[in-house]
Symmetry: C2
Subunit: 258 residues, 2 copies
């Protein structure tokens, strides 16, 4: 039988994916979320050992899920497999987090594993087109924020933006959507604007799909926004019922467009 | 003799321009900076009266200088000239601050006045190409921030951006450069990155030229940046000696490129 493993980071996504069916949970030492409840605890320095463990368990499918962060390498702990990969990993690190993640995925693929996206396991988490909570209001502000993201996408910048009354009030940078919403709350409160969140064109959606949770909704409400527009089929709701409930509680409209 | 008038808003620019030669100072009621020391105190509701005053004083050249803000109209105080202009002013207001400013400038031009830019009166305030304080360091981060501004320019968004180690940490929105620098200071301290500030392609540099002062330098230093890059000939230094001194005091490099 084909076994599946979830390489779990921070947040609720690993738990939501585990509900999709039997899977081993792998946790990497040093990553957010800790190593509690893991079937396999691994180290980036010992990828050879991890690959052996996975093959021994009959694992053929891997899903990366949840927040990861960079960890340092302990040179003294390297096994032969990681040591051989070190030059390319170091090069990828110098090119940014996206490049590093792409390279790690490619290494797992080269090892014979199939990479599943979160939406392969839980398609029900994907934002569907149309109204999700309240009404769909893809107005001029949403279009303006969308245009900003479209312009920045080729530069691999900008997963989210806020617009109100024709003006751009926030553009997501490395610090993420939450930091941008806090900025808007502090500097342009009560705008009644809209948050637009979409995938970047180059983003590998199998391992790095944009997501919103109930906290995102609460932060958008605290920033005085009136709605959130997502890219249909390209943003995860974590989880859908909690996100809808948060929108209803805060009186926010939530919808998705292609 | 041709007389000149400075329509003065907030900040140090009106005073710096007054040093360029004799000029009447016009202040508009309700604008930041107050009406103290003005030769003519005007109201937007009574543009007819202002035009008469300016013509009577032999004014042929007008320079708009310093920060302005929108003020409400008192419908009961309108003179015939402003009343006739009201439909187009209202339309322009609905299209944003830039459109409103462009329209007001066009109204003054139609009235026979020549509009001078701050750099017509004080070309010495313009950022010159090359090193201005410390050394010129137009590195990869500066190029990355420049690319972001180039992508956003056609959308009339983004006069400044911050990049560090290949990552974008801040993109200026309606709230301005200071708010963006405070955001970077709070969310990504000690990055050693660079602030890039340039004019937007559609910007009317006669009435709305980007500027930096010593406070901008202090804020960039507080955000942990190592340098500031300006667009040569398109950004004002208010004033050059104070900006250079602030850079030296904070150990920041300041340079300009085409």
């Amino acid at each position: 039988m084909v076994a599946r493993a979830i390489i779990a980071g921070d947040g609720v996504l690993p738990g939501l994916l585990a509900e999709a069916g039997p899977a081993l949970t792998v946790r990497l030492q040093g990553m957010p979320g800790g190593t509690g409840g893991a079937d396999i605890v691994a180290r980036l320095e010992r990828l050879g050992g991890l690959f052996s463990d996975l093959h021994d368990a009959g694992v053929a499918e891997i899903c990366f899920a949840g927040g990861m962060r960079r960890v340092g390498f302990d040179a003294a702990a390297l096994d032969a497999v990681t040591e051989a990969l070190l030059p390319r990993l170091t090069t990828a690190m110098g090119q940014g987090d996206d490049a590093l993640l792409r390279d790690i995925v490619a290494i797992f693929e080269a090892e014979g594993f199939t990479i599943l996206g979160a939406d392969d396991l839980r398609p029900d988490l994907l934002a569907p087109a149309g109204a999700i909570a309240g009404a769909a209001r893809p107005d001029g502000d949403a279009a303006r924020a969308r245009a900003v993201l479209a312009a920045l996408g080729p530069l691999d910048v900008g997963q989210a933006a806020v617009a109100a009354q024709g003006q751009i009030l926030g553009i997501e940078t490395l610090q993420g959507t939450d930091a941008m919403l806090d900025f808007v709350a502090a500097t342009a409160p009560g705008s009644g604007g809209v948050l637009v969140k979409r995938a970047k064109p180059g983003q590998d959606l199998r391992v790095d799909m944009p997501a919103i949770g109930p906290e995102t909704v609460a932060r958008a409400a605290a920033a005085g926004l009136s709605g959130i527009e997502l890219q249909a089929g390209h943003v995860l709701l974590l989880d859908p019922a909690a996100v809808r409930a948060a929108c209803d509680a805060h009186g926010l409209n939530l919808w998705a467009v292609p």
